[in-house]
């Protein structure tokens, strides 16, 4: 429909069009308030913005919470400040309207609008910040790539260094043992003790090097699991065979028990055995002489639980949080005063995670510690079992 063309000289036509635009089409808020603040009229834009029936509703209902006071209307008309009305809109976001308020006999006539320049400045700033964020995110990803590369190099170095240290260490061990055997009749007790100390230290060092190699292999994503069936009892017998001698030397008693029927497991027997031996060796190291260590196997709703409990010195809460993190600087003091670099727990964590499980620790200083792990039901053995082995991500700790 085409409207008849009007003329700006026709005062009535001009007034009608202006009013129609103002009341129904513009993005100017127009409100007519009673002297007490109730809304008598709201134009189309005001109703859309407030998104509810406005007739008879007090203006305070639409202002941001806590901003109404009885002198507000008077303040708006005082001319002392540029009047601003902060309202709650249909999308629950506050919006600022710059208002002009005319007091009338019937109340107040209010015109309000957003400051488009202010919004433009805001938009420009937000866009600028977004661009900066994009650059920073990109920079972060470049750094992540560089860190992953450094981590790969570190693992490679660790593996190479450990590998190269193994041969000379074997020579030290072998020749020291030859000396012990060949000179046994000619050695004084003191010299025999010297050689024994060399052997013990070399064996400790051999274990550290083996741990380095394990970490290097695991971190480079080359940990391979060879699963097979094994019963809990067999695991325990093998564990006691491996750890019994160390416990005997300190007169520490190791016992084990089960709660619930323990199923046959389908795991990498050597590696799970390594985890259990690591936990028991740690328990021995941190237990007092003549102490007791209990091993528990438990079938629960969440999986198969293995737990090793000691009554040693315990670990503070802040150290517990870092125990399973690589090179976190959390070295533990053993019973004999030596410090352990703690790679055993990291290796254990990786092995358990590769089986789909997780490690846990509960400890109270001066009372003792419970270290253990939970394996999922997917490691329960059945005929033709083929479990999915989850390889740890390379470079992630």
């Amino acid at each position: 429909m085409t409207e008849k063309t009007g003329s700006l000289n026709e005062e009535r036509w001009f007034a009608e069009k202006t009013l129609d635009y103002l009341l129904h089409k513009s993005q100017v808020v127009l409100l007519l308030l009673a002297p007490s603040g109730e809304i008598i009229y709201a134009n189309t834009y005001a109703r859309a913005l407030l998104n509810r029936d406005t007739d008879g509703v007090h203006i305070s209902e639409f202002l941001i919470t806590g901003s109404w006071n009885d002198s507000l209307l008077a303040d708006w008309t005082s001319g002392d400040v540029t009047p601003i009305m902060n309202i709650r809109t249909h999308d629950d976001l506050p919006r600022t309207l710059y208002i002009t308020v005319y007091p009338t006999d019937a109340g107040y006539l209010i015109f309000g609008h957003s400051d488009s320049e202010e919004l433009h400045r805001l938009s420009k700033e937000v866009l600028g910040l977004n661009r900066e964020l994009g650059i920073l995110t990109r920079e972060l990803q470049v750094r992540n790539r560089e860190l992953a590369e450094l981590n790969r190099m570190k693992n490679q170095f660790l593996g190479m260094a450990a590998h190269d240290l193994r041969s000379p260490l074997s020579l030290i061990l072998n020749y020291t043992e030859f000396l012990m055997e060949d000179l046994q009749d000619n050695l004084s007790d003191e010299h025999r003790e010297f050689l024994q100390t060399i052997i013990t230290s070399a064996l400790d060092m051999k274990q550290v090097i083996a741990d380095f190699l394990d970490v290097s292999i695991i971190e480079s994503g080359h940990l391979m699991l060879n699963p097979g069936p094994i019963s809990f009892e067999t695991l325990m017998q093998e564990l006691l065979r491996k750890t019994g001698l160390s416990a005997e030397r300190r007169s520490i008693r190791i016992t084990w028990k089960t709660e619930g029927e323990m199923p046959t497991l389908y795991v990498d027997v050597g590696k799970i055995g390594q985890v259990l031996a690591n936990l028991v060796h740690n328990a021995i190291e941190y237990s007092p002489d003549q102490g007791e260590i209990e091993i528990l196997g438990q079938r629960t709703d969440t999986g198969i639980v293995f737990m090793v409990q000691d009554h040693g010195s315990g670990i503070s809460k802040e150290k517990q949080d870092k125990l399973f993190s690589e090179f976190s600087g959390t070295s533990m003091k053993k019973k004999n005063g030596e410090r352990s670099i703690g790679l055993g727990l990291i290796i254990s964590r990786k092995i358990v995670e590769a089986h789909g499980g997780s490690m846990f620790v509960e400890s109270t200083p001066d009372v003792g510690s419970k270290f253990g792990f939970i394996l999922p039901d997917s490691v329960i053995w059945s005929e033709n079992k083929d479990i999915q082995i989850q390889q740890p991500d390379s470079g992630k700790v």
Partner: protein
Amino acid sequence: MNTNIPTQVYQDYLTALVGGDRSRCSLIVQNLMSSGTDVRDIFLNLFQRSLYDLGELWEHHRISVAVEHLASAITERLLSMVEVDTFFTPHGDHSVIVACIADEFHQIGARMVSDVFELHGWNTHFLGANTPVRDLISLIKKKSPDFIVLSVSVYFNIPSLLSALTELRMSFPSIPILAGGQAFRWGGVQLLSRYENIRYISDIDELEQVIEAYDREDRIA
């Protein structure tokens, strides 16, 4: 470049982008990534194509500034998502500095150019929008890049580009400079011939050819 992105997927993406629907756009990109779509395909036939289409709508007064700005912001966010895969290409020793000249605020094209270098295993230094020449010169001195890339999207910024080129050529006469961007749609390529060792790059395919040729020559040398 041929695309594996179905027309309907592109249309859905464009509709979501015009509507400012960040989640929908993100989902479409995620689906494309999980279905193995090449990153270059996403760059060219989703991000670049949609921004060009949006630019056309904007030029014909069919969309507002706000819609265009929001679409750019969403695209930047999605770039960050896709870049995770881009950055893990094995890297060599080559490096490049990519920047938009002063007063040029459109940085998405330049960012995609940086990412293409990353895909080729280059070490990139992306300076983004509105880079003052002195900052650029300072970083070039520090990094000694194999290439400098300058992007300009708005035709009226070409004089600023020329002035930057004059300064860069005085300070670094031998480092190759690549220049490109939407601004050259309206002409101005011939102005680059005033300078030594500067090449206009018309699109990503040409850029990849230049990178590959440089890598090849370096291997032979």
